[in-house]
């Protein structure tokens, strides 16, 4: 058995990024993600990489834009208010088709809110939080191993589809420590970066831009981006399926909430209830087909989130027409993290044999 390391979630992201070949990190301090810039500031110099603590969240995402425009793997990380500040440039990068990684170890809001685990940024992450109508790839880890693995996957998907990718975590998966088994970056076929800037001595002029003023040019560009989103939905949706085959109630949720729900599901099984868990791992693309097929036989879904109801909208759009979707939310703050016992109560409430 490979050596298991006790690693904090935020650090697992850094280890995954470094294993994925990321050598450019640009960020700004904000709780609860500070382990990430601290780790990268220690590691980058020895790896011949670059670390900059930028003057602002805005500057840091624009440094990512610059480095990534040359084809380098670059990343930034922040927490909710900081991610809001980066949104304009994330929209630019979606329009410019620049791959990169953005990590959101989200915290509670709105506004300054608090530093507790929260899932209040689901809409912002998956619906295109900036202007102009776009999407980015959004992955939601629920374990330390996934923080590592999905970070590597995010870089690859970003390059394959030429768009920004986001890891959406929170203070639970960011601060939690668990055993991690590091492993080499899995091999994936990646397209040539025939768009990356390098100076014209290596060929004709290349321009990385999002301004399209010619007749019909911008519309065509939007349809091109849309085709990628459709492609992603067809090929890249990922989810965890836990005991749903005979379930008469399926619990769902993402990230840390799903992790707590999984124990509640196991407790319900011990009580003889046929309950399962369907956990989206990719939030964009949303695994709509998994929900459609699971609700062919199971007509009760209980969605659990650390907010007042966000992913539940996508769940409702995805399930079979006669399935009922219930929601249980705990918008976060100090003392508001639900327990498995509490979620078991909710399962009992909606469970019908």
């Amino acid at each position: 058995m490979a050596k298991r390391l006790l690693v904090r979630g935020n650090e697992a992201i850094c280890m995954g990024a470094i294993e994925a070949g990321c050598r450019y990190y640009f960020g700004y301090p904000i709780t609860p993600q500070n382990d990430i810039p601290e780790f990268m500031s220690r590691e980058m110099p020895g790896l011949n990489g670059e670390f900059i603590q930028a003057e602002s969240e805005i500057a840091s995402i624009n440094m990512v834009l610059g480095a990534a425009a040359t084809g380098a793997r670059a990343m930034t990380s922040s927490s909710s208010p900081g991610i809001s500040l980066k949104m304009e440039t994330i929209s630019y990068m979606a329009g410019m088709e620049i791959p990169c990684l953005i990590v959101n170890i989200s915290r509670s809001g709105p506004g300054l809110g608090g530093i507790d685990a929260s899932q209040g940024d689901y809409f912002q992450a998956v619906k295109g939080g900036g202007h102009g109508g776009y999407h980015i790839i959004v992955l939601a880890p629920s374990s330390i191993q996934e923080m590592y693995d999905l970070t590597m996957l995010a870089f690859d998907l970003a390059e394959i589809y030429r768009m920004p990718a986001m890891i959406l975590g929170d203070a639970v998966v960011g601060q939690m420590k668990e055993p991690l088994i590091p492993h080499p970056r899995p091999h994936r076929e990646l397209p040539a970066k025939d768009w990356a800037l390098r100076g014209t001595e290596e060929g004709g002029q290349r321009v990385v831009k999002s301004l399209f003023l010619g007749d019909g040019e911008l519309e065509a560009h939007n349809w091109k981006l849309f085709a990628k989103y459709r492609d992603l939905a067809a090929k890249e949706a990922r989810w965890e399926d836990y005991e749903t085959a005979d379930a008469t109630l399926i619990a769902t949720g993402f990230g840390s909430a799903a992790r707590i729900a999984k124990t509640a599901v196991a407790m319900a099984r011990e009580e003889g209830m046929k309950v399962g868990l369907l956990r989206p791992i990719t939030l964009f693309p949303f695994p709509a087909k998994a929900f459609a097929s699971a609700t062919e036989h199971c007509k009760t879904v209980l969605d659990i989130e650390l907010n007042t109801g966000q992913m539940v909208e996508d769940v409702r759009l995805s399930v079979a027409r006669d399935a009922e979707v219930h929601f249980y939310g705990r918008p976060s703050g100090t003392g508001s993290l639900p327990t498995p016992e509490e979620l078991l109560e909710q399962i009992r409430r909606y469970y019908r044999n």
């Binding site: 058995m1 298991r4 006790l6 709780t31 530093i115 639970v172 601060q175 939690m176 420590k177 668990e178 055993p179 840390s256 992790r259 707590i260 729900a261 999984k262 124990t263 509640a264 196991a266 993290l337 639900p338 327990t339 498995p340 016992e341 509490e342």
Partner: protein
């Protein structure tokens, strides 16, 4: 296992040590810290789930074992301990006289006094972990001693013997029957 105290008592280090010891023993484990925005003096709480199978939720509503290092933690978390559970209390800082629960196995240890006796008042957390390990058998003292190497930064390795002494002091207070 659930451990609560105030910042500076070493709650988070103790939790990390337990998690590391679980890895030494090839068990599955999660360690979830929670603390106030202050660097010192705020509440410090952590939950460690040790399991031979999958660790599900890193959050536990009703812990079967709680280690309570100060009064406010007992007041806040005492009612949540699972009936029939174990509550290891630092009676140097906690007054148990008003604590109503009779359905718990309460283990009272004057941890600050024990730590001072072995020569380092900062070792309260290690005394607590030693007592916890001896009472529950979740991890062995040997595994904890081994885990100190990975838990403490290199520059603090010279303190390992003192930490081991504190772990053993905590463990020695638990009799063969598992009682003080």
């Amino acid at each position: 296992m659930f451990m609560a105290g105030y910042g500076g008592q070493g709650v988070l280090l103790a939790g990390t040590l337990l998690a590391q010891a679980a890895i030494v023993e090839e068990k599955n484990v999660s360690f979830l810290p929670s603390y106030g925005v202050e660097k010192r003096g705020g509440a410090a709480v952590c939950t460690v789930v040790i399991s031979d199978g999958d660790v599900g939720s890193p959050v536990v509503g009703n812990p079967s074992v709680a280690v309570i290092l100060n009064q406010s933690s007992l007041d806040k978390y005492g009612p949540r301990i699972k009936p029939g559970g174990i509550c290891i209390v630092n009676t140097s800082l906690v007054d148990l006289s008003g604590f109503p629960r009779k359905d718990l196995d309460i283990i009272a240890i004057e941890m600050n006094a024990v730590a001072r006796e072995i020569g380092d008042a900062r070792m309260v957390n290690m005394v607590a972990v030693g007592a916890y390990a001896a009472r529950t058998g979740a991890v062995s003292i040997d595994a904890l001693a081994e885990a100190l190497k990975d838990t403490l930064p290199e520059r603090n390795h010279r303190f390992i013997p003192a930490n081991v002494r504190a772990l053993e002091a905590g463990a020695s207070l638990i009799g063969k029957s598992g009682q003080v």
